[in-house]
Symmetry: C2
Subunit: 229 residues, 2 copies
DNA sequence: GTAATTTTGTGTAAAATGGACACTAAATGA
DNA sequence: TCATTTAGTGTCCATTTTACACAAAATTAC
């Protein structure tokens, strides 16, 4: 007779936010050992009768109260020893949040939840640094072939925000004219009648992502794809 | 006090093979309930002190004896109820096997292991049909931007094999001249001095994939990418 | 052994896409 | 009103992609 398996299943989420040319990640401070006091990705054990997706959503809600605009499975980490207590297999998720939804819920102990700029990260508990790196790579790849960048902007945004977002995430300059030409040629942005007043300089039209149109185009074989010099 | 979690962790693999313009998947016949007698993906429970990757490799070895040429994590399926007995979270893998390694080991009960052509699949146990569909989608996407197609061919192959492989997987015609031009332009194939004698018709040069060269190019910013009309 | 058949191997021209590049417009602040 | 800041726009050239057809080398059938 085989001895029963004793492995826990957890979910963890890497949730990105973007504002003012800064990419951020949502972290929580651990209240218990191991790694008590360290920062870690939000997450926790999966309950016995909930799906993985439900589990992440619940944990995110409980721990941060932040509304997640986009969520997909990232990768599953399961090397023995990644948690010093027990064998834990962690199914990780990749999330994006619009600045419209940045606010950390007052329900949670707000001191223990924070947005960290991606270039000022604290040390992370467990193997969460690797998970984070994996998520960042996914983000870098995916914005080139899926319209997920919009999830990181306000619902209505000036074109320059989109431009800066791509430059920040990909960490390189992009020609403004070519970029705009390309994106607009897709026909998935709707121009609103509002305008945005920058602190100084010419006002900008506000655009919004037209998800319905995108879906429609996609069904007809259209493929979102950006290339850079 | 929370009640302890009772979730099992399994691994399952979708392993593809290709020969004679047919794409196949490696399946095993279940010897026990539930779904006794049904065909299923090879896989099983993860042992407490082995990594996920080791677990799949072990299961594949034990159940099929087939040498896997390429293996990567696919997706994790964990909906409650997918196994009627217990809650099982299954970390699935995506594998490719060269025709050089098709042979199912004599160690295993060979009656219970079989290559099934992708268009003559039996009903599958559990949610394995969904897993298979996911893997197939991955294959279709991935051959366009990673040189994994070569893992499905013999070490040395005539160009037409590669051509047919792509046409089979993508299920469409590809212009022979443009395809060859494109692939050869990458400079990742080495021409061998051998030739292949088709049953009739002009003999063909044999090529092999030059993994070292590919890696080298990749490090210098080269990106394998195929587009089709 | 000649002709028909099968599969391999190759080039070019036209069209579409990608990349480089600089100035004007509309606002604010000094 | 002038300087500064950000938004908005078009053209030309280089590269890539696509469409497209015939000759070469072998086997098979007659």
């Amino acid at each position: 007779m085989k001895k029963p398996q004793n492995i826990r299943v957890a979910v963890d989420a890497v949730v990105f936010g973007y504002e003012q040319k800064k990419l951020s990640v949502l972290l929580i401070k651990r209240g218990i050992e191991p790694f008590k006091g360290s920062w870690a990705l939000p997450g926790g054990l999966v309950l016995e009768d909930e799906s993985l997706e439900t589990a992440v959503q619940r944990e995110l809600q409980e721990e941060t109260g932040v509304t997640i605009d986009y969520l997909e499975q990232l990768y599953t980490f399961g090397k023995p020893g990644r948690d010093p207590r027990n064998r834990v297999v962690s199914v990780t998720y990749f999330g994006l949040v619009s600045p419209n939804h940045f606010k950390i819920s007052a329900d949670t102990d707000a001191d223990d939840v924070e947005w960290f700029s991606i270039d000022k990260l604290p040390n992370l508990a467990f193997d969460h640094d690797i998970i984070l790196k994996t998520a960042l790579q996914r983000l870098k790849n995916k914005i080139n072939y899926q319209p997920i960048g919009f999830e990181l902007l306000k619902k209505e945004f000036p074109f320059s925000d989109l431009e800066n977002l791509y430059q920040t995430i990909l960490n390189r300059k992009i020609d403004r004219r070519n970029f705009r030409k390309k994106i607009l040629s897709f026909g998935i942005l709707t121009e609103t009648d509002k305008i945005h007043q920058p602190s100084s300089g010419r006002p900008a039209k506000l655009f919004k992502f037209n998800a319905k149109k995108y879906k429609e185009l996609e069904e007809n074989g259209f493929h979102f794809e950006i290339k850079f010099a």
